[in-house]
């Protein structure tokens, strides 16, 4: 068993009486890509800032293995905040060189690495232009370049695609897929789809706590439950019938929203048979009937919404 790269245990952060992160523990293995998933205000940014060493935790510990003794662990870290702010009077090239020098490179090495990093994120043509004239997508890519230039062992990205238009989003996701081959990535997002696209592990946060975590493949099968979706015409009789179905013994959980109902069931065959027979017998005006299995999205919505 390989030692994890990052070990977070019982991490807490409170501002006065407000608890932002309420004691979370997780491990991140070398070479993995982990998405920190959750709605706004779940404590994702606070967690990332604590890992990046920008915020002192109120309690708990963060262990980063492999950082040599006496060295600053931030040398091994690349961090991109939610809305990165640069110096507008600098050119993109100058900023990345600045970042590379701060990570300990000499001038010559920094210039070479900066050029490569900018080319990689597709900013070669704009490298000599002032950052003040960059678009939002270019700034985000510049942010990636400055986080990558020193080949960090851990890359922390806070909502890297949330503020981008579809094209910018596409580009950054492509980049992340490439980068994940080389280093360990932790990124936060509030969109499950983004996480599924590049990551193999997710940590779902809500109200400062971890609601669910694990490998995507494991979670997918865990939350793949038989589910029946029924929609009827909008009339009182039909809605009353849906309510009565919700109380049946084979229904594990019923979510009713007017004439739209989602039932988690234990036995799909039996449930389908019973519901359809009853609907026919009591002449219920069905519009839609679907039998299938729930997805991760359902789990996420339930965790986030409930």
């Amino acid at each position: 068993m390989m030692q994890p790269l990052l070990q977070v245990s019982n991490l807490r952060k409170s501002y006065g009486r407000h608890l932002s992160v309420g004691g979370i523990s997780f491990e991140i293995a070398q070479g993995s890509c982990v998405a920190l998933l959750g709605p706004n205000g779940a404590g994702k940014t606070t967690t990332l800032r604590m890992i990046a060493g920008l915020l002192p935790p109120s309690a708990g510990s963060i262990g980063f293995t492999g950082s040599y003794q006496g060295g600053d662990f931030r040398r091994e870290l690349g961090y991109l905040p939610q809305s990165p702010a640069f110096y507008g009077w600098m050119s993109g090239q100058e900023y990345v060189v600045f970042a590379a020098k701060l990570a300990g490179m000499n001038r010559k090495e920094a210039e070479g690495k900066a050029k490569a990093a900018l080319e990689r994120v597709g900013l070669k043509a704009a490298a000599r232009r002032r950052i003040a004239g960059y678009s939002g997508g270019m700034k985000q890519r510049l942010g990636l370049a400055q986080a990558l230039v020193h080949r960090p062992r851990l890359l922390l990205l806070d909502e890297p695609v949330s503020a981008l238009d579809p094209i910018g989003r596409r580009e950054v996701m492509e980049l992340l897929r490439e980068i994940r081959e080389e280093t360990t990535i932790v990124f936060s997002t509030h969109v499950l789809h983004d996480a599924e696209e590049v990551c193999d592990e997710i940590i779902v946060m809500k109200d400062g706590l971890i609601a669910e975590q694990g490998a995507l493949s494991v979670l997918r099968s865990k939350y793949s439950q038989p589910v029946i979706t029924v929609r009827t015409e909008k009339n009182a009789e039909a809605i009353q019938w849906l309510n009565s179905v919700g109380a049946k013994p084979f229904i594990l959980e019923a979510r009713l929203n007017g004439e739209h109902a989602v039932f988690n069931v234990d036995n799909l065959k039996q449930a389908r048979h019973t519901i359809l027979k009853e609907a026919a017998a009591s002449n219920i005006p069905l519009l839609q009937f679907e039998a299938g299995s729930s997805t991760l999205e359902d789990m996420f919505m339930k965790v986030v919404g409930g």
């Binding site: 920008l54 809305s83 640069f86 009077w89 600098m90 970042a99 701060l102 300990g104």
Partner: protein, 259 residues
């Protein structure tokens, strides 16, 4: 240490790119040169005004070179301080509020290193501006009014520089936890308060940094031997500056993230 130097280089590049490295020294040069020139041409200026009573023109006595020089330095304690404080007010608060400090401090840079680099950048601007300003004041004083012992001028300018550096350091301290306008207001208020206290009760406050401008003026008008060595204002100024930089580092460490 190395990274403090890198951030300092970035600071200097910024002051050059934003033309601060040019316009602040130009203001200081103009302020310094104006005093001897206006003093020298005062009779002509008054005559040109036409409606001046006779007695004033005849009673005009050209002040000595030392007086003119100390008046020139006096310009820096009003307009000079204002310019410096307005330049320094954004140094930390601007970076804190727009988030550029967050990105830099996620690298192996300590808040103290960041603050020291900023302070050194401001010191460099002050050094250049005051040096050039005093040189131009000295040049015109020598040309138009009379010569002065160089060493006295250098010592007087250094005393003045320490006082201005105190005002800059105070601005940096307030800039570490307040928004720029509030930082500028508070640092101007506190330096004006110190100067006022010194002028109202000089015997009580002669050990404070606020006594430095007065000391500098006396040095120019009476000479070094007459004034003697008076270290306590310099010592208290050094302590104040140290306190400001240390305080700014601590506060910057706490307030580095954008709200």
């Amino acid at each position: 240490m190395r990274n403090t130097w890198i951030v300092y280089q970035k600071e200097m590049l910024e002051t050059a790119r934003t033309y601060k490295l040019i316009w602040i020294p130009v203001v200081f040069i103009l302020l310094g040169a104006m005093q001897p020139i206006i003093t020298y041409y005062m009779p002509e200026i008054l005559q040109a005004a036409n409606n001046v009573p006779q007695g004033i023109l005849e009673g005009y006595v050209m002040p000595g070179a030392g007086t003119v020089m100390s008046q020139a330095l006096g310009q820096y304690s009003t307009i000079g301080i204002l310019v410096l404080v307005l330049v320094a007010m954004n140094s930390l608060s601007g970076e804190r509020y727009n988030g550029s400090a967050e990105l830099v401090l996620s690298k192996p840079v300590s808040p103290a290193g960041f603050v020291i680099a900023k302070w050194a950048g401001l010191f460099t601007i002050l050094f250049l501006a005051l040096g050039l300003g005093v040189a131009s004041a000295l040049y015109y004083t020598e040309q138009l009014i009379g010569s002065l012992p160089w060493m006295d001028v250098v010592a007087a300018a250094a005393l003045y520089g320490i006082w201005l550096l105190c005002a800059l350091s105070l601005t940096l301290l307030f800039s570490a936890f307040l928004r720029a306008p509030a930082a500028a207001f508070l640092s101007l208020l506190s330096s004006a308060g110190m100067a006022l206290a010194d002028s109202l009760m000089p015997s009580w406050f002669q050990w404070t940094p606020a006594a430095l401008p007065g000391l500098s003026a006396r040095l120019l008008s009476e000479g070094r031997e007459a004034v003697g060595v008076n270290l306590s204002p310099c010592l208290s100024a050094a302590l104040l500056i140290l306190f400001c930089v240390a305080g700014a580092s601590t506060l910057m460490g706490r307030n580095k993230l954008p709200k």
